[in-house]
């Protein structure tokens, strides 16, 4: 069965610091992987997606993610976090979502 695990419920980083949000998945075939961001009271916005090809995917707002089949991971990264990045981040395999990671940004 498909499943998505985001092991970190909360992460706090300082503004300007680098960020990595972890995502592990379980899927029998080639996964279709997504990262979404949800700001408070808002809907979901797609940051990036991976279906095939280059395993390093570039997204919006300076985010990137790397698909590692051997580790069943699709971690989201950003080299320098801005205060406006504070939000909830969801990893998804198809329509199956992880439980989310809440990012807090310290001034």
């Amino acid at each position: 069965a498909q499943s998505v695990t985001q092991p970190d419920i909360h992460i706090t980083v300082s503004e300007g610091a680098s960020l990595e949000l972890r995502c592990n998945y379980s899927y029998g075939a080639t996964p279709y992987l997504f990262w979404y961001v949800q700001s408070p009271g808002q809907g979901l916005q797609l940051l990036l997606k991976y279906f095939s090809g280059d395993t390093l995917v570039q997204g919006i707002k300076g985010f990137e993610a790397e698909f590692k089949r051997s580790q069943s991971s699709f971690n989201l990264r950003k080299p320098s976090v801005h205060w406006s990045d504070a939000a909830e981040y969801f990893c998804a395999v198809g329509s199956i979502f992880g439980s989310g990671t809440r990012l807090l940004v310290r001034p």
Binding site: Y32, F34, Y36, Q42, G43, L44, Q45, L46, K49, F51, F90, A92, G94, S95, I96, F97, G98, S99, G100
Partner: protein
């Protein structure tokens, strides 16, 4: 830029009442979805819809739920007899294709069951 819209933004209802949540997907999209998010919890897939029929549904989507595309633009989710545990944010999404295509999400409808 085209977007998915949902109405109402907030719906309050009494337990046992029927509610209909409405969505207008992006006009050239063919696949439609409903998700729910209970406060503080993860987003859960409910159902996908294509060519006027359900293509996939989760365990959550039981007989109390139904979906319909009554005309060329609206996509609705009906809950026949609401329960307290139906209180959640309900998101509609649409995509041009399935699986590989990006799903565009609406802003959500907050359903509160009293």
């Amino acid at each position: 830029e085209p977007e998915v819209t949902q109405t109402p933004s907030h719906q309050v209802t009494q337990m046992g009442q029927e509610v209909i949540l409405r969505c207008v997907p992006i006009s050239n999209h063919l696949y439609f979805y409903w998700y729910r998010q209970i406060l503080g919890q993860k987003v859960e897939f409910l159902v996908s819809f294509y060519n006027n029929e359900i293509s996939e549904k989760s365990e959550i989507f039981d007989d109390q739920f139904s979906v319909e595309r009554p005309d060329g633009s609206n996509f609705t989710l009906k809950i026949r007899s609401t329960k307290l545990e139906d209180s959640a944010m309900y998101f509609c999404a649409s995509s041009e294709g399935i699986r590989t295509d990006t799903q565009y999400f609406g802003p959500g409808t907050r359903l509160t069951v009293l």
